[in-house]
Assembly symmetry: C2
Homo-oligomer: 288 residues x 2
């Protein structure tokens, strides 16, 4: 039987985008323009390990673009000129333009579509195969907020809301989980099958029972103990079992419910004591 939520999901909703994590390892990206927007694009491409060909006359370079060119010569090839024609697209996997010339932008877009190269033209939605969103970056964690064109300011406000919900150690925790998964796969290799399922179940139970912050505190010795005393014995140890210690003064992460209780308990207790003291004082004064 289908549930109500299923019914909702079946409805024609639309109006959204297909959010994707595009893979650019060692792919070639052409960036036309070198201003501020281009400098943001460069950063996004470097995060994804792409190679950049940058077309922009020297005088049009934003200071940040200039620094990227100087410091990331391993990834960026800069040509001190404008876009010259279709030959620029040769062997390109992705094209991003960020120039003021609308006609030139549209022309580049047309060339890309003919060559079947995905293209984004800054400020001209019609000429975009994809849009960028507001992003939280804590590698390997990446979060994108897309408002589907309903206000960039709102995207940034929602991004702030989401950022406030993160502890800032999620990226580090993910990295450690990645190391753990890789070492586990070395001990118990193979894709799918009973071993794959057992691996998945153990990892999933571990992720569900530990606090995310605990993972960020894992070191090599603890990962080894986790595998020796946990995986090998088909058991999921606690963070403390493998020698984990929360740094002094650190807020011990708690489940939402527990946090709520604690945060209600303390003011209630203080209120109770204050109420008792005031009443005692009143009775004592009154009896005199």
């Amino acid at each position: 039987m289908a549930s109500d939520s299923d019914d909702l999901r079946m409805q024609a909703r639309g109006g959204g985008s297909l959010l994707l994590a595009w893979q650019l390892q060692d792919k070639r990206v052409l960036i036309v323009g070198g201003g501020e927007v281009a400098s943001q694009r460069i950063e996004s491409i470097l995060v994804a390990d792409g190679y950049i060909t940058l077309l922009c006359p020297e005088k049009g370079l934003h200071p940040r673009t200039r620094r990227f060119i100087e410091e990331r010569a391993d990834r960026i090839t800069h040509y001190d000129r404008r876009f010259t024609g279709p030959a620029e697209l040769h062997k390109m996997d992705l094209v991003l333009t960020a120039i003021d010339d609308v006609n030139r932008s549209r022309e580049i877009c047309e060339l890309c579509r003919k060559a079947k190269i995905p293209v984004n033209v800054a400020d001209i939605p019609d000429s975009c195969d994809f849009y960028f969103g507001s992003q939280i970056l804590d590698l390997p964690l990446q979060v994108m907020v897309s408002t589907n064109g309903n206000g960039p300011r709102m995207a940034s406000l929602i991004k702030t809301r989401l950022e406030n919900a993160l502890s800032g150690t999620e990226g580090k925790a993910l990295k450690k989980v990645g190391v753990l998964r890789a070492q586990l796969k070395e001990r118990a290799p193979g894709t799918g099958g009973p071993v794959g399922r057992k691996r998945m179940k153990w990892m999933s139970t571990l992720c569900n029972s530990w606090e995310m912050e605990d993972f960020s505190l894992l070191d090599d010795a603890m990962i080894k103990r986790l595998l020796d005393e946990g995986w090998e014995k088909n058991h999921v140890p606690t963070f403390e079992d493998v020698g984990g210690k929360h740094p002094p003064g650190a807020k011990v992460p708690q489940a939402r419910g527990t946090q709520m209780t604690t945060s209600l308990l303390l003011p209630s207790a203080i209120g109770f004591i204050a109420g008792a003291l005031c009443t005692t004082w009143m009775f004592v004064s009154w009896r005199r």
Copy 2:
């Protein structure tokens, strides 16, 4: 001068993806396979208003896939057969496969790469031009969490953390802001220039001074007042100025600090009263 944060940003980081909001309005997507994963893909494509060609023998269809085929015949064309060869890719803009046959999957991937069609092959990262992430959907708001392959369970835990930070009215608020922006653009048309800048500044001031929840409560009359009494007079009214009322019993959105104070006040007061009552009872019992 470059700041420290700039220095950090310049460093070779890498290891990430390029997060994108891919545009699929009326584009054609080929989905090979009809199981559970395929049904998730179908939903993602419908959200983005794409047309789907689905290849899967009748007996391989997941119940949800079957329902999508029945209820979204306007968008989905289903063929009761497997993938037959390169001709299937004709005029396709995107290809997603979710079948168990690894060799067939790799073969489809190769064909797509030759035809320069972006492709995702479920469970074979090498054969993917892009990955999917864990998603929060409150259209037009979309949020994607990508862990760059470091654990799907962690992605879902982080997604829950982010979901808890949202009020659930952000999508509605965005929709209303979109309507407001469109009507503003009708009153003061033109791209860029002084009008464009004035429009942007007014919208930005408004977004910064109102609570996000207020926007979700806007109706047509309020939007008209906002433009008549706000935009036309170069002024940013408050939510109450344009007739806004928070529904009775609704949590009035508050700044973080205020919320904290309120949440401490109530338990303290209850504690105080309880303490006073208990002490009174003690004194009264003791005097008898």
